[in-house]
Amino acid sequence: MLTNIESKDAITLIQVREERLDAHNSPELKNQMLALLEEGKHRMIIDLQEVRFVDSSGLGALVSGFKNASARNGSLKLCSLQPQVQSMFELTRLHRVFDIFSDRHQALSSFQDLSGPA
C-alpha cells in the first residue's frame, strides 16, 4: 500500500497512492489508520484522488478507520473521490456516513470549526 502521510495543524492527511483499493491492499490501509490513531492522531483526512477503483473491502477499511476515529472522539473525513468511487459510496449509502469533500483544502477547512479533544 503506497501512501503519503503528512500533518498540518494537528490534522493527519493520508494520500492513497494506489489505483485500486481492494481486498489485496485495504487491510494495510486499515492498519496504517489504526496505528496513526493509536499515536494520538485523531483528526484524519483520506485523500482518494488517485484511487480509481474501490471494492467492498476498501469501503470496509475506511469504515473501520471512521469507527476507530469516532471511538476516540476524533474524526475521519474523505476527499477527492473520482466519480466511480463516489458511486460506490452512494450505492452502499456510505456517502451518508462519511463527510466527503471535493478536495483536501475544503476537508482541512472543515476541521477549523471543530472543537473538543483531538
Binding site: D22, A23, H24, F53, D55, S64, R93, V97
Partner: protein
C-alpha cells in the same frame, strides 16, 4: 452475427490476482460492440463484480481443496454476459445479504449486495466439488 467470446482464467487463490482478473473483465467489456449503453460503466461494474466474487471465493476457500487454482469463466453470447466464479469452499446463502442501512457501519458484508445490485441475475449453485457464483448481465 452476434458477438461470441469465451474466456477461462485459472490462477492461485491469492488476492494479488484480483487486479489482473478484474482488468481482464474490464477490457473485455470495453471491447463489446454489441453493448450500446455506457460501456465505461459496464466495464467498471464487470471489474468490480469479478473482484468481489473472486475475493469472496478466496476468503471462503476450503483448506483441503482439490484444485489449487481458482477458476473463472466469462462468456458473451446472444446478448448475455455471464461470469462464473468457481469455489471449493463451504458455500453461503445469497438470501443472507441485507441492504445497507443509512447508518450501517458494518466492516464486512457489502460484496454480494454490490454484485446483486449491479447484475441482472445472480445465482449460487452447488456442484459436485464446490460451488459456482453465476452473474449475468443483459447486454441488450
Amino acid at each position: 452475427m452476434s458477438e461470441r467470446i469465451f474466456l477461462h482464467i485459472s490462477f492461485p487463490y491469492e488476492t494479488g490476482y484480483l487486479g489482473l482478473v478484474g482488468k481482464i473483465g474490464e477490457q473485455l467489456a470495453l471491447s463489446l460492440n454489441c453493448f450500446t449503453g455506457d460501456r465505461e460503466s459496464l466495464a467498471y461494474h464487470v471489474n468490480l463484480v469479478l473482484t468481489e466474487a473472486v475475493a469472496n471465493a478466496i476468503e471462503h476457500a476450503a483448506a483441503n481443496r482439490k484444485n489449487p487454482l481458482l477458476q473463472v469463466t466469462v462468456r458473451v453470447e446472444n446478448g448475455l454476459l455471464t461470469m462464473r466464479v468457481f469455489d471449493q469452499g463451504d458455500g453461503f446463502s445469497l438470501c443472507d445479504v441485507q441492504e445497507p442501512c443509512d447508518d450501517g457501519l458494518a466492516e464486512h458484508g457489502r460484496g454480494i449486495f454490490i454484485i446483486k445490485s449491479l447484475m441482472d441475475r445472480v445465482s449460487y449453485i452447488k456442484l459436485d466439488d464446490g460451488y459456482v457464483l453465476e452473474m449475468e448481465k443483459n447486454l441488450y
